[in-house]
Symmetry: C2
Subunit: 230 residues, 2 copies
DNA sequence: TAGCTTGGTGTTGTTATGACATAAACTCCA
DNA sequence: TGGAGTTTATGTCATAACAACACCAAGCTA
């Protein structure tokens, strides 16, 4: 083989942006304007520019697609997809990022995407362009496991949230219901997971709920494990 | 920006091959024969070839460096390193793989590497070429966490091993000692983690130990958590 | 003020865990 | 042949974590 037999290729970042909306785990997808797969749904993303770092590219794409500051929310590289034939345009290796955000009114006034929309993960599954179905599946599994061991759940919540909000995140992402009372105790007894703000939120009906903000911790000790037996 | 402003680059795989040797966690390093960093230690790896998948490239490099069949041992992609200036030769994005193997007499009759050697992780730390120190650190941390939640520890062991062997893996990788009796109970009570072969190993002195092989499980339920408080 | 709804705390029986004690199996050697 | 020494395997027990469930608290509405 010659020295020139090295793979010369382009590298891209793809974003799996997850949030909890309307009681469902949803992801942001774009409708592709160009070939290939024109008109079909795909994950937001794009090519890494010359001289640009991977994380920088992910932050930039996130800003372009959602108008949000990528530095302020959870953004985490989680896998690479590099099958030679995964992109019909040629060799493209894609670095996949997992982004978590609260349910904000996203402008999605993006430029690249001809349209961006939130869709429930359970609905979109099986109809994405390229190998994005697999990327999405991997991302969701990653997020589910991350809830067990890290404070990732707070990234789904706004700055102030109730324990019920936090529990709802777990229930929606895991797809199983949790005991509210035991959940409260676990969360409160975990050091630095959440800290009270002192304020309360008054619901249309029922007792007011204390508000909390995310604590300093990133890892959960002890972990909050889902029930794998069921 | 123009369409041609996309990063055109080469992609490489780097391997962190871990084993437990002589009571220490060791990794395989090569001495670089070419510039840059000639004569310095580095992780084994190389460029991905045209038309070659990432996992395929990792398996190939593993075979070249160690003479071992990559398909038969644990090989897992764990991170991507793509800072624009991480390689003085130009833009190189590296996909890092974590390989785990038992303490076999490795031929290391490689072709690329002018020399390959096992070195304790604690010794080599801080003296590797490129950004390989960081890659190694990330890999070790990954392996440590994987021991908690998966059956990765069996990958450090030969086909047949005792519970003491398995415990030793945990102790060496985690750097802390575990209670043999409680460890036994946990391991045996975990479904499909290990299964007895029926045979025994007779040590030079002491009671023979029952031999086990790896069970079918890949995830550990419940997990075996290290003591984070200490 | 009764009734509804949601949030938060107690109680209890069961299971997992950590610390430590003891028995079992083998070799060596007197 | 029968300890002594060494390593593996199993047992015990107090405590901690946990799931399931009862109950109380705090707001609103009627």
């Amino acid at each position: 083989m010659t020295t020139r037999d090295h793979a010369l290729l382009r590298i891209a970042v793809d974003l799996v942006i997850l949030t909890v909306r309307e009681g469902a785990l949803q992801t942001l997808v774009v409708i592709r304007g160009n070939k290939p797969f024109a008109g079909q749904f795909a994950l937001p993303g794009g090519f890494v520019r010359a001289g640009e770092g991977l994380d920088d590219a992910a932050v930039r794409e996130l800003a372009e697609e959602t108008g949000l500051d990528g530095g302020s929310l959870h953004l985490e590289q989680f896998a690479v997809y590099g099958e030679p034939d995964r992109d019909p345009r040629g060799r493209v290796v894609s670095v996949a990022y997992l982004a978590i955000m609260p349910d904000l009114p996203v402008p999605t006034a993006g430029s690249d995407a001809s349209g961006a929309a939130w869709v429930p993960v359970s609905k979109i599954h099986g109809s994405l362009a390229f190998d994005h179905d697999r990327i999405l599946t991997d991302a969701v599994e990653r997020a589910r496991r991350r809830l067990e061991l890290t404070t990732l759940a707070t990234a789904f919540c706004p700055a102030e949230f109730t324990i019920g909000d936090l529990r709802s995140v777990y229930e929606v992402v895991w797809g199983e219901s949790l005991d509210p009372r035991n959940f409260s105790r676990k969360v409160i007894n975990t050091e630095k997971f959440i800290e009270p703000t002192g304020a309360k939120r008054i619901p249309p009906t029922g007792r007011p709920a204390a508000l909390y903000r995310a604590g300093g911790a990133t890892t959960l000790n002890p972990p909050i494990m889902r029930n794998r037996s069921r």
